[in-house]
């Protein structure tokens, strides 16, 4: 039996290997192309690979007063402020959705999905129009507001799921021992829900860091985030600068992808959107 099975097993690796290899090519081919552009000094048709490698474009990007460094600082500032704004409104909202009796609870949950459930370009056009009259166009505050609304679905839904996953008997035990509601919340509920809240913040941070369309309409002309810088470099045909900027954007994305499972446990994940 074993002797006849072994070749069959080995043969099964041919389609499997082909499929996995093709998938790997499709996924990593474009990434490799980006990586090559980041270190290419000279590369033109019909050469398969760059003619000359080097880091002179990196020096330009990482020069202390370069546009890229300024855009990176703007991007990170906006993303952190967006996380703060999202947490400020969604920790109370998530707690209420998880623990308190709310009228129209399903509809309230859905309301936070709406900004993601409508095609957003026309909405941003009109946000820009409104912000123009308020003087918020081209300001960090305006962009943060746009990113916050977009990120609320992550922060509210995941925070609510995180609070719902906290064992209620622990809260009750604290209350029975005489802790007040606020003390119970900050001493028991919030620390236990912290990984989920952290996960929601990561999602919000990444959404904000990578956001393009809203910033494109609301941030003009003064706010240049990394995605806008990359867009302008790419459209201007400066593939090296675009590739290096794209790699800078990829680092947090891939890094967070590798750690997100540590924060987002299955018991929380199962409750998202419920």
């Amino acid at each position: 039996m074993i002797t006849t099975l072994a070749p069959a097993r080995a043969l099964a690796w041919i389609p499997r290997g082909l499929a996995l290899g093709l998938l790997a090519f499709v996924i990593f081919g474009p990434l490799t192309n980006l990586g090559l552009w980041a270190v290419a000094e000279k590369w033109y048709f019909p050469h398969t690979l760059p003619l000359q490698y080097g880091f002179s474009f990196w020096e330009r990007v990482f020069a202390p007063r370069s546009n890229a460094m300024a855009s990176l600082a703007t991007s990170v500032t906006i993303a952190l402020l967006t996380v703060a704004a999202c947490l400020a409104v969604s920790v109370p909202a998530g707690y209420a959705l998880a623990r308190l009796r709310l009228p129209w609870r399903g509809a309230i949950l859905l309301a936070f999905l709406l900004p993601q459930a409508f095609p957003s370009v026309a909405v941003y056009i009109n946000v820009a129009r409104i912000f123009y009259t308020l003087g918020l166009n081209g300001t960090v505050a305006g962009v943060v507001l746009v990113h916050t609304v977009h990120g609320l679905v992550f922060s509210v839904w995941i925070t609510a799921a995180a609070f719902a996953a906290v064992d209620r008997s622990l809260e009750e035990a604290a209350r029975d021992m005489g802790a007040g509601p606020l003390r119970t919340f900050f001493g028991i509920t919030l620390p236990l829900a912290a990984p989920g809240v952290m996960a929601s913040s990561i999602f919000v941070f990444l959404e904000s860091l990578d956001e393009f369309t809203g910033t494109y309409f609301v941030g003009v002309p003064d706010i240049s985030t990394l995605p806008l810088l990359m867009f302008n470099a790419g459209m201007g045909g400066n593939f090296q600068i675009a590739a290096i900027t794209a790699l800078i954007l990829l680092v947090p994305s891939v890094g967070f992808m590798l750690v997100i499972e540590r924060f987002l446990k299955a018991d929380v994940l199962a409750k998202v959107g419920h």
């Binding site: 996995l20 409104v89 308190l100 946000v127 209350r175 393009f212």
Partner: protein, 308 residues
């Protein structure tokens, strides 16, 4: 939203509550105000954000689509939008539908193999592989594809180098095909993750039973697994359908020339003409497309709920 909510009302009364005078449904926050008032107060700031910075501009956009420059009601914007961009509307819908169909097939295949695959090494490799595009921003994906799929991009270079095509056959894929490739590349992991999660939480006994009865894996996937995860699959597809309708960077960078997607047209109307009327009319068309999908989903959901 279907799961029973652990509200105070349906929770069994705690045994060990001190002060027996307080009734079992006492509030965790305070007794001074009714529970739901606290709930509403806590939710209100977040809801206000959505109302002010999403619902209000959304309403403004819908209203502006039907207003002329003088403020009167008119259908001229819609008429002009159709006159100038009806090809682009069809193009947009076709691209998004085709991409959604491809995403559906690929994500079911990936989820199915992760659930039913018998070779653990291959399953592990697939699990590691498929997620990479998930967290890669659209704009980065667009730039990557712009260089990868170009006439002198790495894909053609490798195909030529491998002797698969002749140099003269090398063609740029930077048109509708590039947009579809980028959308599918970016959205498949998202839907596959949702679908694989739903598949993993299925009751394995029906799968094992079918397997014992000699059903092949494809048949188990099509007849047992997919029907059970269909709600998750549909939600994932609708979310990515709307995402693809909203993403402006991908068509702008990969397919900027006509025919293109209406997101690009909207930006053009604003940037080149300051024409909010037609831009909002195009926006209205994009809402209609998303609304159509939502309507199909709701009908589908109601029918399913009725059958249950």
């Amino acid at each position: 939203m279907s799961a029973p909510l652990p509200t105070e009302a349906n929770r069994p009364a705690p045994f060990l509550r001190k002060g027996g005078g307080r009734d079992a449904t006492a509030l965790p926050v305070t007794a001074a105000l009714p529970d739901w008032v606290w709930g509403v107060l806590l939710v209100l700031p977040a809801l206000a954000m959505v109302a002010l910075f999403f619902l209000y501009p959304l309403g403004l956009s819908a209203v502006s689509a039907f207003q002329g420059r003088d403020g009167g009601w008119t259908l001229a914007n819609i008429a002009k939008a159709f006159e100038l961009y009806s090809l682009d509307m069809a193009f947009t819908l076709a691209i998004v539908l085709l991409s959604s169909a491809l995403v559906a097939v690929l994500s079911v295949a990936i989820g199915g193999y992760l659930t039913l695959g018998e070779n653990r090494l291959a399953v592990t490799m697939l699990r590691w592989l498929y997620r990479w595009p998930l967290f890669i921003p659209f704009i980065v994906a667009a730039q990557m594809m712009r260089s990868f799929l170009a006439k002198n991009g790495l894909m053609n270079n490798l195909l030529i180098g491998g002797g698969i095509i002749e140099p003269l056959q090398a063609a740029s894929l930077l048109d509708w095909r590039g947009v579809v490739v980028t959308f599918v590349w970016k959205q498949t992991p998202f839907v596959a993750l949702m679908v694989a999660g739903a598949m993993a939480s299925l009751d394995r006994s029906t799968i094992e039973a079918a397997r014992d009865l000699g059903a092949g894996r494809l048949r188990i996937l099509a007849e047992i697994v997919v029907p059970q995860v269909r709600p998750t699959l549909v939600v994932g597809l609708i979310l990515s359908f709307v995402t693809m309708l909203s993403v402006m960077s991908v068509p702008m960078m990969i397919n900027p020339n006509s025919p293109t997607m209406i997101t690009v047209d909207m930006a053009y109307r604003i940037n080149a003409h300051g024409d909010y009327g037609v831009a909002n009319a195009l926006g209205f068309v994009s809402y209609a497309m998303a609304g159509l999908v939502g309507w199909v989903y709701l009908r589908h959901g109601v029918r399913q709920g009725g059958a249950r």
